[in-house]
């Protein structure tokens, strides 16, 4: 089961990432999904646009996966997908799935992966409101 790190334009599927990491020896899978919120600081959001430096983003996600495997040896597989383009309220912008023999490690590894992704992976979002837009990126997610 090869690990997978991709910037994609299509809608993300939790079932697909769960299947991707369901190594036969894994006991537990933890999935994080980042979802487009309907408001930002009380202002209603209409939709979002995501932009990435795709090759570097994929390389940075691979680095995170390698860090995860060094730090949590019971991890069996890691998948990280980030979507770009226009996303509507309630759609998933990022999916991270980690399978491990022990669920404690799966939780810790998945949490570490999303925290690190937010700090280091070059992806930006533009929040569209009724009366304007704001760019947010990297640490701002």
């Amino acid at each position: 089961m090869p690990d997978l790190y991709r910037i994609v334009e299509e809608p993300l599927s939790a079932d697909a990432v769960a299947e991707a990491v369901a190594a036969a020896a894994a006991g537990g899978i933890v999935i994080f999904s980042g979802v487009v919120r309907n408001e930002k600081d009380g202002r209603p959001v209409k939709y979002l646009e995501y932009e990435a430096h795709a090759p570097m983003a994929e390389a940075k996600m691979l680095e995170i996966g390698e860090q995860v495997r060094r730090r949590w040896p019971s991890v069996k597989a890691v998948t990280m997908l980030h979507r770009v383009g226009r996303l509507e309220i309630g759609e998933s912008s990022v999916l991270i799935a980690v399978s491990a023999a022990h669920r404690q490690e799966a939780f810790e590894a998945c949490h570490y992966a999303i925290d690190t992704l937010k700090r280091t992976v070059p992806v930006w979002k533009k929040e569209h409101f009724e009366d304007g837009e704001i760019w947010v990126g990297l640490q701002g997610g």
């Binding site: 430096h53 533009k126 704001i134 947010v136 990126g137 640490q139 701002g140």
Partner: protein
Amino acid sequence: MAVRFFARYREATGRQRLEVDLPEGGTVEAAWAAVVDRHPALSQYRPFTLFAIGNDYVQPDHPLKAGDELCLFPPVSGGSL
């Protein structure tokens, strides 16, 4: 050498790329100065800007080589454009 703009910077400059002339061994900082010469609106963002070449972040004193593409990553957040 080439400079590439993302997100807010792409919109603020109206372009994705810019060619700048730098002397051999010029630094990221020198490239930034050349970019701001052409697009002064970017100057306010300097403290928040991240720089990358290839798939790696680089520091302002990093020397550039011929053929490098310097990526300028905008700051985290801010007012409406």
